[in-house]
Point group: C2
């Protein structure tokens, strides 16, 4: 992992202070959670499911020759899931938000 633990914590604090944010999970590209403010079960679920979805999205963008994926957003009836795949750092950042 290229990013320092200190830098990561700084980024996370900034995100968590935003309105409507109810959870932030950082996982490796393999779905291993590195940091989370959700309970352990939810964290494991989010890490596993989102990592698998990101893999599929990375494949899709490559196959469609759309360059590289910088951000993936899911709008749901319960809010928004923002996903930033930081492939170079070997991390996926997942932010769960409530509908405003």
């Amino acid at each position: 992992m290229v990013i320092s633990q200190e830098k990561l914590q700084g980024i996370l604090s900034k995100i968590k202070s935003q309105e409507g944010v109810r959870g932030v999970v950082v996982t490796t590209l393999e779905g291993l959670p590195l940091s989370s403010d959700l309970d352990p079960d939810t964290t494991e679920n989010v890490a596993a499911i989102i990592t698998s979805l990101v893999g599929k999205a990375l494949d899709a963008v490559r196959e469609l020759r759309e360059g590289s994926l910088s951000f993936l957003t899911l709008d749901t009836t319960k809010g928004q899931i923002n996903i930033a795949p930081e492939v170079n750092e070997g991390l996926i950042l997942v932010v769960l938000k409530n509908t405003e």
Copy 2:
């Protein structure tokens, strides 16, 4: 399909007139293209790849109990892919945009 061909064409014209839009594809949930302004090869590719990604995203949202998926957005280095899964109508609307 619940939506009429006429209504669909109206929606498509409106989307295509927006700035930066370089392609609009409508497929069934099974990946069969119904309408497209891209060449046949690209259309088939987009329909197959995006349908598969939407299936995965619908699974993810259900498993995470986030309600239902209303919109999926991929930000890439080449632009944006906006995906509206209209599950009730049996359609997926895909809009390819250039970076502004």
